[in-house]
C-alpha cells in the first residue's frame, strides 16, 4: 500500500472528492499558500480553478456562513480555518445556524458543510494560536466532530465528512501533518463514530484523540517493557463517540486512562469518563484517570510551554499510577 504523510492524505481526499462531485469545493484563508494549510491544498487551484478553490479575505464569520449557505443551496462546501482559534468568529454560522438548521426546520433541509479547523499549537505562539476546541463543538447538538490521528483516517474521515449529510467539524493538528502511514490510493470512507484499537492490551485501556494517540502508543511501548500491557483506543470521532468500543475495552482491561489534547475540565475526557461511570464497567480495578491539558491558556515562553503540553512519559506515568492504585 502506498505511504503518504497525513497532510498529503487529506490532499488526496480533496482531489478525489472534488473530481468525483462538482458540488464539492474548498474555501478559506490560505488555500493558495502553503504557509497556512501546509500542503493540504496542493494542486487544487490549478486543477479545479478559482471558483472551486477560493482563497478568502480575513472574514471568518461571513465565509463560514457562506459555506453553510452554499450547503443549504445544494453544494458540498469545505471551509478551512488554518488556525482553529480564528473559528471563534465563525461560531454563529456553525453553532447557531448549521447545527440547528435541520432540527429547527423539522427535518426539511440540512447543511452538509465540512468545517475544517487546524490546531496550531506550540512554537511559543501563546494563547490565541493553540486552542483545541473539539469539546466546545462536540457539546453542541447537531454537529459531528472528528479528529483523525493517522494518514489513513485523515483521508477516510475527510471523505466521510464530505459525504455526510450533516455539518461535520473536521479537526487536524499541525503536529500530525508530517506523520507517514499507509493510505489506499482509491477513495474510501472511514465511518464517523467508529473507534479503532491501535494496540491490544490487557491491563489498562488508554483512550486517545488526535495527537494524543501517538503519545499513548509511545507510552504503551515503554510500559510493555515494564510488563504493563496497555490497550490503545483511538476514538477518531469525538461525536458521535464509539461508546461500545470504549466499554468493550474497559470491560476487558478493568482500568481506564483518558487522554485528550484539549483542556481537562468540562472537556471530551469527561464524556469518556462519564460513560464508564454511568455504564458501570464490570470489575473496574481503579478509579478512572484523565490526562489532558491543564486548565490554562497556552503560555508563550519555552519552559512554560514544555510544562504545559503532555509528552509520552506523562502518559506512561499516569498509567503506572493507575495500575498501582486500587478501586
Amino acid at each position: 500500500m502506498p505511504t503518504l504523510t497525513y497532510v498529503m492524505a487529506i490532499n488526496q481526499a480533496l482531489h478525489q472528492m472534488m473530481e468525483a462531485d462538482d458540488s464539492v469545493f474548498l474555501m478559506g484563508q490560505g488555500v493558495k499558500s502553503p504557509w497556512y494549510v501546509g500542503n493540504a491544498a496542493n494542486g487544487l487551484l490549478d486543477r479545479f480553478g478559482p471558483d472551486r478553490v477560493i482563497d478568502t479575505p480575513v472574514s471568518e464569520n461571513a465565509v463560514t456562513g457562506a459555506g453553510v449557505g452554499t450547503a443549504l443551496a445544494g453544494m458540498r462546501p469545505i471551509v478551512v480555518h488554518p488556525r482553529m482559534d480564528f473559528m471563534f468568529y465563525a461560531f454563529d454560522p456553525i453553532i447557531n445556524q448549521a447545527a440547528n438548521w435541520y432540527y429547527m426546520n423539522g427535518g426539511r433541509l440540512s447543511a452538509p458543510v465540512v468545517v475544517w479547523g487546524i490546531i496550531n499549537r506550540g512554537g511559543e505562539q501563546a494563547a490565541q494560536h493553540s486552542q483545541a476546541l473539539h469539546a466546545t463543538f462536540a457539546h453542541v447538538p447537531g454537529l459531528k466532530v472528528v479528529m483523525p490521528a493517522s494518514p489513513h483516517d485523515a483521508k477516510g474521515l475527510m471523505i466521510a465528512a464530505i459525504q455526510d449529510d450533516n455539518p461535520v467539524v473536521f479537526i487536524d493538528d499541525r503536529w500530525l501533518h508530517g506523520i507517514e502511514g499507509e493510505v489506499p490510493a482509491e477513495p474510501y470512507a472511514v465511518p464517523l463514530g467508529r473507534a479503532a484499537v491501535r494496540r491490544e492490551g490487557s491491563d489498562v485501556t488508554i483512550t486517545a484523540l488526535s495527537y494524543m494517540t501517538h503519545l499513548a502508543l509511545q507510552a504503551a511501548e515503554e510500559l510493555a517493557a515494564e510488563g504493563i500491557s496497555a490497550e490503545v483506543l483511538d476514538l477518531r470521532s469525538v461525536k458521535p463517540m464509539d461508546r461500545a468500543a470504549v466499554l468493550a475495552s474497559v470491560n476487558k482491561t478493568g482500568r481506564l486512562l483518558v487522554c485528550d489534547p484539549g483542556w481537562q475540565s468540562f472537556g471530551a475526557s469527561a464524556e469518556v469518563a462519564a460513560l464508564v461511570a454511568e455504564e458501570g464497567c464490570a470489575g473496574l480495578k481503579a478509579p478512572v484517570r484523565r490526562l489532558a491539558l491543564p486548565d490554562l491558556p497556552a503560555p508563550a515562553s519555552g519552559p512554560l510551554e514544555k510544562a504545559y503540553y503532555p509528552v509520552a512519559g506523562d502518559v506512561a506515568q499516569a498509567v503506572r499510577q493507575l495500575v498501582q492504585s486500587q478501586s
Binding site: G30, P57, V58, Q125, A126, P299, S301, G302
Partner: protein, 339 residues
C-alpha cells in the same frame, strides 16, 4: 477634516527642533530594536512568531506623538512599534520576545502580546481585528468618565475584511466616542495582496457611511501622520470623534519573521521592484535626509543619536539575556487575579 498634506510637504522648520529629534529618535528606536531581532530569529534563539514592522514606524510614532501618556492604545500582531511609540520599555519588549520573566507580559505572551498599562498601552493580540472593539470600549470608558482620554485602535488593511470593524465604526459613530481607527494599509494580508482581499475602493471610504471624519495620509511621512493625528485627537477631545485614519505604508520585512521565503515556502509574492520603491520611501532615511537638508540636524548629530539608540538596544538585549525564563512551577500563575 483636511486631507493628506502629503504632496505639499510640511517644512520641518515649522516644528520645534526637540520635537523633530524626538520623532526621529522614536522611529530609530523601533527600527534598530526590530532589526536587532533578525539574527536571533534566524539562529533560533527567539522562537515565538515575530511580525516585524520595519518600514511602518512613522505611523506608530506620528500617531502616538499626538497622544497624552494616559490616552489608550491597542494593537495587533504587529505591534512592537505601537508599544515603543506609546512609551513601552524596550527592555521589556525584547525580554518578552525572548520569553523571559522580565518581559512586559512576563514571558506568557511573546511578541504578539505587548502591554504596558502605565503608559496607556492596554495590550495587543493577533486575532485580526480582535482588539478593535476593545479599543472601542476604552474610548467608551473615557467618554463615560469624561476624562478627555482618547483611545486608538491600530489595525491592518486585512482587518477591514472582518465584520467587527464595521460594528465598531457604527457604535463609535453613534456614541461620538473619542476614538481613532488607525488602519495601517501596507497593501498585503499575509500572502494576499490587497486587490485580492477587497474590491477597489479607498480604505478611508469605509468610514464615510457612518458619518465619520476620515482621512488618508502618507503613512511614511511622520510629520504628515502627526499633523493628521493631532487634528483627529483634538476633534476627539472636543467631542467630535471618532476619526478614521488610513495610513499608507509598507512592511520591509516578511509577514512573519525577517523574510517569508525562508523555510522554502516562497510565500512572499511581493514584486522586488515594489519593495525597492518602498525602500526609497523609507520613513527613517527620508526623514533624516529632510532634517539635514532643511537644517534641523547635522549628520554628526544624527550619527550620535544612532549610536545612542544602538546602545539602548544593546542594553535591552543585555537585560533580556540576564532575565530568567519563567519557572515551570509558575505555569498556573496569573490565571486569576488575587488567587
Amino acid at each position: 477634516m483636511t486631507s493628506a498634506p502629503g504632496k505639499d510637504r510640511l517644512y520641518v522648520m515649522q516644528y520645534p527642533r526637540d520635537l523633530l529629534l524626538d520623532l526621529h529618535r522614536r522611529m530609530l528606536a523601533i527600527r534598530l530594536c526590530e532589526e536587532s531581532l533578525v539574527e536571533p530569529i534566524l539562529d533560533g534563539s527567539i522562537r515565538c512568531p515575530v511580525h516585524l514592522c520595519s518600514g511602518q514606524e512613522a505611523v506608530a510614532v506620528g500617531v502616538c506623538a499626538a497622544l497624552r501618556q494616559d490616552d489608550y492604545v491597542m494593537g495587533n500582531h504587529r505591534s512592537h512599534g505601537h508599544f515603543l511609540a506609546k512609551g513601552g520599555r524596550m527592555e521589556a519588549l525584547v525580554a518578552e520576545v525572548f520569553g523571559k520573566e522580565g518581559g512586559c507580559s512576563r514571558g506568557r505572551g511573546g511578541s504578539m502580546h505587548l502591554i504596558d498599562p502605565s503608559v496607556g498601552m492596554l495590550g495587543s493580540a493577533p486575532i485580526v481585528s480582535g482588539t478593535i472593539s476593545l479599543a472601542l470600549g476604552a474610548a467608551l470608558a473615557g467618554k463615560i468618565r469624561g476624562d478627555q482620554r482618547v483611545a486608538v485602535s491600530f489595525f491592518g488593511d486585512g482587518a477591514t475584511g472582518e465584520g467587527v470593524l464595521y460594528e465598531s465604526l457604527n457604535f463609535a459613530a453613534l456614541m461620538h466616542l473619542p476614538m481613532l481607527f488607525v488602519c495601517e494599509n501596507n497593501l498585503y494580508a499575509t500572502h494576499m495582496p490587497i486587490g485580492d482581499c477587497r474590491p477597489a475602493c479607498a480604505l478611508s471610504d469605509i468610514a464615510r457611511p457612518f458619518g465619520m471624519e476620515s482621512v488618508c495620509v502618507e503613512g511614511n511621512d511622520v510629520l504628515a501622520v502627526l499633523a493628521v493625528a493631532q487634528e483627529a485627537v483634538a476633534a476627539c477631545r472636543e467631542g467630535r470623534g471618532p476619526v478614521f485614519i488610513e495610513a499608507s505604508t509598507y512592511r520591509l520585512r516578511g509577514h512573519v519573521g525577517p523574510d517569508d521565503n525562508i523555510q522554502g515556502t516562497h510565500t512572499d509574492i511581493r514584486p522586488p521592484e515594489e519593495l525597492a520603491r518602498w525602500r526609497e520611501n523609507d520613513p527613517i532615511t527620508t526623514f533624516e535626509a529632510r532634517l539635514v537638508a532643511e537644517g534641523a540636524a547635522s549628520d554628526e548629530e544624527l550619527a550620535r543619536m544612532r549610536g545612542e539608540v544602538g546602545r539602548e538596544v544593546e542594553a535591552a538585549h543585555a537585560f533580556a539575556a540576564q532575565s530568567p525564563h519563567p519557572p515551570a512551577e509558575e505555569l498556573a500563575a496569573h490565571l486569576f487575579k488575587h488567587d
